[in-house]
């Protein structure tokens, strides 16, 4: 029992050693990033660090999950949401800085398969020669909601409903298709921007409502210069170039 006490004390000491140098990085900011924006966010954070020396610590997940966590006082200072509703709600909830909200990217939906000749267009969905169609959880992830909208617009939701499997966020959806467990799925165009294999169909924008992806500075980060600097960087030309490279449109108005 005594030995156990020492082990616990040792672990505590080790943990505090690991912890303290972290506190020395004063110029860092915690950013919650919608899963579809994972790849560009990493590149932007690297460019941000190269330019300013500040660190953006990124967490990836579903926007809905982040919203819930932020309402419960999660230590995020910026949210890069996959929609415009949740940042707006955070401002209304008094958790976001009102005039910091802007559209950093407009998302595009793609139907993607690992098989080279499976996805040809909307007729692929109509002929339905597949067992599983992966989408993101439509209640929590805007790309999931857009996928449902698309299926409904094509009047294919009812016949295909039994084939749908849901990832908790768009990353898990991608992974379902990537591992071949689902033959095809609705993913974010950004996720397959650097994938050359397989087959894809860029879903026409008139089939789903525009996916305005808004960023918001949270009140927690309002006093942190690294946080405000990251927001400014995200609006700048360097970040925009990266965002466009991944297949997003950049909202001209912002």
């Amino acid at each position: 029992m005594k030995r156990l006490g020492w082990i616990v004390a040792g672990l505590g000491l080790a943990a505090s050693c690991l912890w303290s140098p972290g506190a020395a990085f004063a110029a860092s900011t915690n950013v919650a990033v919608a899963a579809n924006f994972t790849e560009p966010a990493k590149e932007i954070a690297a460019a941000f660090k190269a330019k300013t020396g500040d660190e953006a610590v990124l967490s990836f997940g579903a926007s809905g999950q982040f919203y819930t966590q932020i309402k419960q006082d999660a230590p995020f200072e910026i949210l890069l949401s996959a929609d415009d509703a949740r940042p707006k709600k955070l401002v209304e909830d008094g958790l976001g800085v009102a005039d910091s909200r802007f559209t950093y990217a407009v998302g595009k939906l793609a139907l993607w398969s690992k098989s080279a000749d499976l996805v040809k267009g909307e007729e692929t969905l109509a002929t339905a020669s597949f067992a599983k169609l992966a989408i993101a959880n439509p209640a929590a992830a805007p790309y999931g909601a857009a996928a449902i909208e698309t299926l409904k617009a094509l009047k294919l939701y009812d016949p295909l409903q039994s084939k749908i499997v849901q990832g908790e966020n768009i990353s898990q959806t991608f992974q379902f298709v990537d591992t071949g467990n689902a033959e095809l799925g609705f993913v974010a165009l950004s996720q397959i921007a650097k994938v050359s294999s397989g087959s894809r169909w860029l879903v026409p924008q008139n089939l789903y409502s525009p996916m305005l992806q808004d960023a918001v500075l949270l009140k927690k980060g309002a006093g942190n210069e690294a946080a405000t600097a990251f927001i400014a960087f995200l609006r700048g030309p360097d970040a925009r170039a990266i965002i466009e490279k991944y297949g997003y449109a950049v909202d001209g108005k912002s």
Partner: protein
């Protein structure tokens, strides 16, 4: 309960089905393993025991990751699924059963092995001198004597399957009525800020866990009293 959809109870019945089937399978598959682990003199048996115990320590994501690959078209699961024209066992109820069996094995095997070991060689030796065949000795002596271990194993296996999250999240695909079990449903409700539904299910789980642990303690105490 007005305003709540019937949807909320589907994960409950699905979870109970999954846990019951998993427990039954584990009792059938786990008993010979536990027996062998308790009786064998093979030098490598602790290696096998360690493999059985691995899920106790591994994060569920490790199992979830390997299962996702193994159940899919590139793994053995896809081969099995192709027998009936499917291409993967992921996103199916049988797939969840496979995952749950693997994940809950130690919770069933360990208590049964302990019970077999606690019994010692003596009862079986006595049975042998009375000319009982080994299989008869097993069914009429070893099994009844190890009953407390079976009971503990069954309850733990069942409860642990009910409480499983990581594996089913990774291989399930959250299909209502097929793979959307309780823990995933709670996760979904929290993620979408439906706290009332999340609360009902979560509070139910707390109650369930309390009853399981309390009744196990009481049962164990009773067996201990009977034995002494």
């Amino acid at each position: 309960m007005g305003g709540l959809s019937g949807e909320i109870w589907r994960p409950v019945s699905l979870t109970l089905e999954l846990a019951a089937l998993t427990t039954a399978l584990l009792l059938v598959l786990g008993t010979p393993i536990a027996w062998w682990l308790a009786r064998s003199k093979a030098w490598w048996k602790e290696g096998v025991a360690t493999i059985v115990a691995l899920p106790l320590v591994l994060p569920p994501t490790v199992l979830g990751f390997y299962l996702l690959v193994a159940l899919g078209p590139m793994g053995p699961g896809g081969l099995v699924a192709s027998l009936w024209g499917a291409r993967t066992l992921a996103f199916t109820f049988p797939g969840l059963v496979i995952g749950s069996v693997l994940y809950s094995t130690p919770f069933v095997v360990q208590p049964i092995r302990n019970a077999f070991e606690a019994m010692g060689d003596r009862p079986l030796e006595v049975a042998a001198t009375l000319r009982a065949s080994p299989s008869r000795a097993f069914w009429t002596i070893a099994l009844p004597l190890a009953m407390p271990g079976f009971l503990t194993g069954a309850v733990l296996g069942f409860a642990h399957t009910v409480g499983e999250f990581g594996v089913v999240l990774m291989i399930g695909g959250s299909i209502p009525g097929k793979t959307k079990v309780l823990s995933v449903a709670i996760f979904d409700y929290v993620e979408t800020s439906q706290w009332r539904e999340a609360n009902i299910l979560a509070a139910g789980m707390v109650l369930f866990a309390f009853v399981v642990i309390l009744s196990m303690t009481l049962v164990e105490r009773r067996f201990a009293r009977e034995a002494s």
